[in-house]
């Protein structure tokens, strides 16, 4: 897609009228994503319960591509499990690197329109900013869960040791 067409048909709507540019009440996690070279700056918020991204939102400023890409990403990940969200991120990154097939990127819906950014090296960072930030957050959440699970596991075995020992 030619860049002007991309702006006209996809980017402008999500940049000028984003659906998810707001603050969540009780986000599970908030992370700032920055593109130092452009000055793109987003603040991504996720609400995760039982492994499902129940809600997501963002704030910040930056170029139309970074803002629109983040807005479209949120459209895609709300209601998905963390694993599905990571998988979508993988597909999106693959698309931007020009490594995916047309069928593979169908799951990206509107965001697939950013495919041609792969020919614009200077704008790649803008397009992936939201996705990169989201991936970082989910990975961090997963790490925390593993840690919590370890603590719980360790705790329960200790707990269990008492009665066992008594027995």
């Amino acid at each position: 897609m030619e860049i002007k067409q991309l702006y006209r048909e996809i980017v402008n709507e999500h940049n000028l009228h984003p659906s998810h540019k707001r603050n969540l009440d009780n986000p599970t996690m908030v992370l700032q994503g920055i593109n130092p070279s452009c000055g793109d700056d987003i603040n991504l918020q996720l609400k995760v319960k039982d492994g499902i991204i129940e809600d997501a939102a963002f704030n910040g400023s930056g170029c139309a591509i970074s803002q629109a890409s983040t807005d479209m990403m949120i459209d895609l990940i709300i209601g998905q499990t963390k694993e599905e969200a990571l998988k979508l991120a993988g597909t999106f990154m693959g698309m931007i690197k020009g490594e995916t097939t047309e069928e593979e990127i169908e799951v990206l819906d509107e965001a697939a329109a950013l495919q041609d950014i792969s020919h614009m090296p200077a704008r790649v960072k803008c397009a992936v900013l939201g996705w990169r930030t989201m991936r970082q957050m989910v990975e961090e959440l997963n790490r925390q869960e593993v840690k919590d699970a370890d603590v719980t596991a360790a705790g329960s075995s200790e707990c269990g040791a008492g009665p066992c020992g008594v027995k």
Partner: protein, 407 residues
């Protein structure tokens, strides 16, 4: 179009047979055939390692290289060619001064004075010197139009100042700083004056002695020369006392297993095989610039800048930064379009074959000072035309529409 300009423009192959509007001259300028021809002649007739071989080609290569040095010395009014050190670019020149001079002279409590308008290459080397020596980095701040007032100069350059380093022309505002005045203030306090001439040498006659510059740095690629060749002018007595920046071949006099004595100026600062072909290209660029003449260069740039600023003023959503006086811009016009990020502006203009710069222009402290995240910048050179300016302004007026406003 001015008949002379039309004629000179034909010397630039890249500007022929396409409709590209190249307005990113402050980033790098285009090269005329004369520069390429001079390098081709060097390549085809005397390419050999200069300063080393004892045979004709090497001797000729050395002569060509040293002739280029003479031409540079003459171009900026240096007293001797040995005060001209060839580097890769302005950035390397500034680092040479910072590492060799700055680290040698600065002590805790000393001050290094720069301005908030500097390019990162005139900030980061001094941050390094300040960190390593305990000296303090002090920033002079201009008025909104880019003017550095006498009060600002006098209040920031105190007896604690050891080094004052200022860009001759700002690559964002386009203003020409009052170097002579700043140099006098620096010298009155016993400090040395370092000048970043990256944006001045392409546009105006420079005389380092009249300016009071103790060091003067610039890049060949911004003044029609090749990439990879730059210059550091340094006052001879200062250079003599400085330790080498890089060490190795070519810069020595005598080497034993344990130590070495260094070659004389300027070779002390030119370690390793030099970029002789680049120097020859730079010499050709200087020659070309002299042929065109600064009178024509400056009058054409002024004509174009006036026209551009007047046209941009007609577009209500456009803000132009810096002075409202086009004669104070050196062909550099930095602007923003309301609601549009400069990167989006540049991307859609690219589809219209318009090349401008967008971003922070390697001057983040200035962006912060101006209260903007980033800006778009059109920078003109004498080979640009009124027709290009008109076409450019018309396209700029359409950018908001392309980015979804008002439709």
């Amino acid at each position: 179009m001015n008949r002379l300009i039309e004629q000179y423009r034909r010397d630039f192959p890249i500007l022929q047979g396409n409709d590209v509007i190249y307005f990113d001259n402050a980033a790098t300028s285009q090269r005329p055939v004369q520069v390429m021809e001079a390098m081709r002649v060097f390549n085809d007739t005397c390419n050999a390692n200069p300063l080393r071989g004892l045979y004709a080609w090497s001797v000729e290569a050395t002569e060509a290289y040293e002739r280029a040095r003479e031409a540079v010395a003459d171009f900026i009014g240096a007293a001797h060619a040995r005060e001209i050190i060839f580097t890769r670019n302005t950035t390397e020149s500034m680092n040479l001064v910072a590492y060799s001079y700055g680290l040698s002279v600065c002590r805790p409590g000393d001050e290094i004075v720069i301005t908030v308008m500097e390019h990162h290459s005139n900030i980061l080397p001094w941050q390094m010197v300040a960190r390593q020596t305990g000296a303090k980095l002090v920033y002079m701040e201009p008025l909104a139009d880019g003017t550095l007032t006498d009060e600002e100069i006098e209040s920031k350059i105190t007896s604690k100042a050891k080094i004052v380093s200022v860009g001759h022309v700002s690559n964002v505002m386009g203003v020409t700083n009052p170097i002579r005045k700043i140099a006098d203030a620096a010298h009155a306090q016993g400090a040395v004056m370092v000048v970043d001439g990256a944006q001045s040498t392409p546009h105006m006659p420079v005389n380092v002695r009249e300016l009071g510059a103790d060091f003067y740095a610039f890049s060949g690629h911004k003044m029609m020369g090749p990439m990879g060749i730059g210059v550091l002018y340094g006052r001879e007595d200062l250079l003599e006392a400085m330790p080498p920046f890089l060490t190795g071949g070519e810069m020595i006099e005598y080497v034993t297993r344990e130590s070495a004595t260094y070659a004389e100026l300027p070779h002390k600062f030119e370690a390793g095989t030099v970029n002789a072909m680049g120097a020859v290209g730079l010499e050709a660029a200087i020659k070309y610039m002299k042929k065109v003449g600064f009178d024509l260069i400056m009058s054409q740039e002024e004509l174009l800048t006036k026209r551009l600023m007047a046209a941009l003023k007609e577009i209500p959503e456009v803000t132009v930064y810096g002075s409202s006086d086009p004669t104070r811009h050196c062909g550099i016009v930095t602007f923003n379009i309301e609601g549009c990020h400069p990167h989006d502006v540049s991307s859609v203009l690219d589809t219209e074959h318009v090349d401008i710069r967008a971003g922070h222009h390697c001057a983040q402290p200035l962006m912060k000072f101006m209260g903007v995240g980033s800006t778009a910048r059109a920078s003109l050179y004498f080979y640009n035309t009124e027709e290009e300016v008109d076409r450019f302004a018309e396209k700029v007026s359409k950018v908001r529409g392309w980015l979804g406003y008002g439709n």
